[in-house]
């Protein structure tokens, strides 16, 4: 669906490139994530893909067609969830959506009250956005991004600034969208978000991609090939997964102790990130 080859970008008036030779592909119907600390170049990459920034070097193809050959029709097919809430504060949530929806072809537009209901904003639909909390504004961002029922969605930090409950709901909605066959590109500096919903992630640091893989593969590759076993009275031990069923010490441990837990010693995505990039995700 989306192919990016050797993408580099320097902001006008700056000498330092912010993106350096990025290569990645996003398949139809997948959730692809950029995971990286703030300032890494995640938003910049998305802005290039949704055509707010121009004059990049390298190649970008959307459905095998070069990005610069896509005209107005491109914007019918994409939806953009901006990083920060951006609405007319003097208009109500509903008036905001009505205004922007008037630019799309009618056929594919979703019903505005349904959208508000979907994110639990139905009671605030007619309130001015200046009275919304940050979390409510972000939910309004989210439904504005999907109101034209696009095939490709860009979400820039979709869970940032949301409380855990609403963050969880947004993640569920994003997975729902994927299940409807949509192609989704998210950016995040939140390890858990990337781990929970992304089919594949790229680690991005200082404008370069370090690795692109499924989260589970990454955690396996960088974890230890072991289980850790813990008993209720506080004893613990580690055993290699290799021939575990024939490992007498392991068998003895689980026979003789009341077990509290057995874990495979997978790395967390955050540990993998630190191992691969030498950086933390702390912002």
């Amino acid at each position: 669906m989306i192919q990016v080859k050797n993408l580099s970008f320097t902001y006008p008036g700056s000498t330092q490139p912010v993106l350096q030779a990025l290569n990645f592909e996003i398949s139809e119907g997948e959730i692809f994530g950029f995971l990286g600390p703030s300032g890494a170049g995640k938003s910049t990459t998305q802005k290039i893909l949704y055509k707010i920034l121009h004059n990049f070097s390298g190649e970008v193809f959307i459905q095998d067609k070069p990005l610069d050959q896509w005209g107005k029709a491109y914007f019918e097919r994409i939806g953009v969830g901006f990083e920060l809430p951006n609405h007319y504060l003097k208009l109500s949530g509903k008036e905001n959506l009505e205004l922007f929806s008037s630019f799309y072809k009618k056929e594919r537009l979703l019903k505005i009250p349904d959208l508000f209901e979907m994110v639990g904003l139905q009671d605030s639909m007619n309130k001015k956005v200046e009275a919304y909390s940050k979390g409510m504004k972000m939910r309004l961002n989210f439904i504005r991004a999907i109101m034209n029922n696009p095939d490709i969605l860009f979400f820039d930090e979709p869970t940032a600034g949301l409380d855990p409950v609403n963050g969880h709901k947004i993640k569920e909605h994003i997975v729902d969208l994927k299940n409807q066959g949509k192609t989704i590109f998210i950016t995040t500096h939140d390890m858990a978000t990337a781990d929970e919903i992304c089919d594949r992630v790229s680690f991005i640091v200082d404008g370069r991609l370090r690795v692109t893989e499924t989260p589970s593969t990454l955690k396996h590759q960088h974890g230890e090939n072991k289980v850790s076993v813990e008993s209720k009275d506080g004893k613990s031990a580690e055993f290699s997964l290799e021939n575990l069923g024939k490992n007498l010490q392991f068998l003895e441990f689980i026979q003789e102790n009341q077990l509290l837990r057995i874990n495979t010693m997978e790395a967390t995505l955050e540990q993998v990130f630190i191992q691969v990039t030498g950086k933390t995700l702390k912002v």
Binding site: K47, Y50, K51, I52, L53, K72, A73, Y74, F75, E76, I78, V80, F82, L84, N86, H87, Y88, L89, K90, L91, E95, L99, F100, F103, Y104, K105, K128, R144
Partner: protein, 228 residues
């Protein structure tokens, strides 16, 4: 139409909608009263009319500059950047309404003033000319301003620039042409021609071409920065 909701819901913008009424009162009530008292004022009536019509363009010039700067500051402008709409047409279409209202109001001011019996057609032409200030003005200001603070500074500067050529009427001819660098100079001379019953089209033509070039330039510049 959403623009008008934004304007009416912002007290600091709403109050500017009263500007034409104020101008109307000055021209039709205050100025005749002054002339009644001081004969000498009569001589200045053409210049007062010229300044009045220009100030009339400042209403939407100011209001739309503020709307556009606010839109840029709050990054709402970016949303338009990802909508299926041609940015240039969107800008032109959006400024059409303030342009048309400004033209109508300027025309009304000129037709209803009590001093001269001016041609309906020529005053309309002049009103269209001076209305062209509005898009150039607010697109120029919002392109130059990162925020409302710098916007206010640019508005002051532009405000002076548009009325400055009125000085051309009070200086020797050789100096007056210097003001030709400012597009409103040609419009001013044009309106003065209309009032004096002289040939209007030469100055009007230059003003028109000048504004057309400026409009093309500011629309393109604006469209390339506003939505990013």
């Amino acid at each position: 139409m959403a623009d008008f909701k934004l304007i009416f819901r912002d007290p600091s913008l709403r109050v500017f909608l009263l500007l034409p009424a104020l101008i109307f009162v000055v021209i039709n009530v205050f100025l005749p009263y002054l002339i009644d008292k001081y004969e000498a004022v009569n001589e200045y009536v053409p210049y007062v009319l010229i300044v009045a019509t220009i100030e009339n363009t400042q209403m939407f010039g100011f209001i739309y500059s503020m709307v556009l700067i606010e839109e840029k500051e709050t990054e709402v402008a970016r949303v338009y950047g990802v909508l299926p709409v041609s940015k240039i047409w969107f800008v032109l279409f959006r400024l059409m309404i303030p342009f048309l209202i400004t033209v109508s109001l300027t025309w009304a001011i000129l037709l209803l003033q009590p001093f001269y019996d001016l041609s309906v057609f020529l005053t309309l032409l002049f009103s269209i000319l001076s209305g062209l200030i509005v898009p150039v003005y607010c697109l120029g200001i919002s392109t130059l301003s990162a925020n409302k603070m710098s916007g206010m500074v640019w508005i002051k500067i532009f405000n002076i620039l548009v009325v400055l050529p009125v000085i051309a009427f009070f200086v020797p001819d050789s100096f007056s042409h210097l003001f030709g660098m400012l597009p409103t100079h040609w419009a001013f001379q044009g309106l003065n021609n209309v009032i004096e019953g002289e040939a209007f089209f030469f100055n009007a033509f230059i003003a028109f071409i000048y504004f057309l070039i400026l409009t093309t330039f500011t629309v393109r510049k604006f469209a390339s920065v506003h939505f990013t």
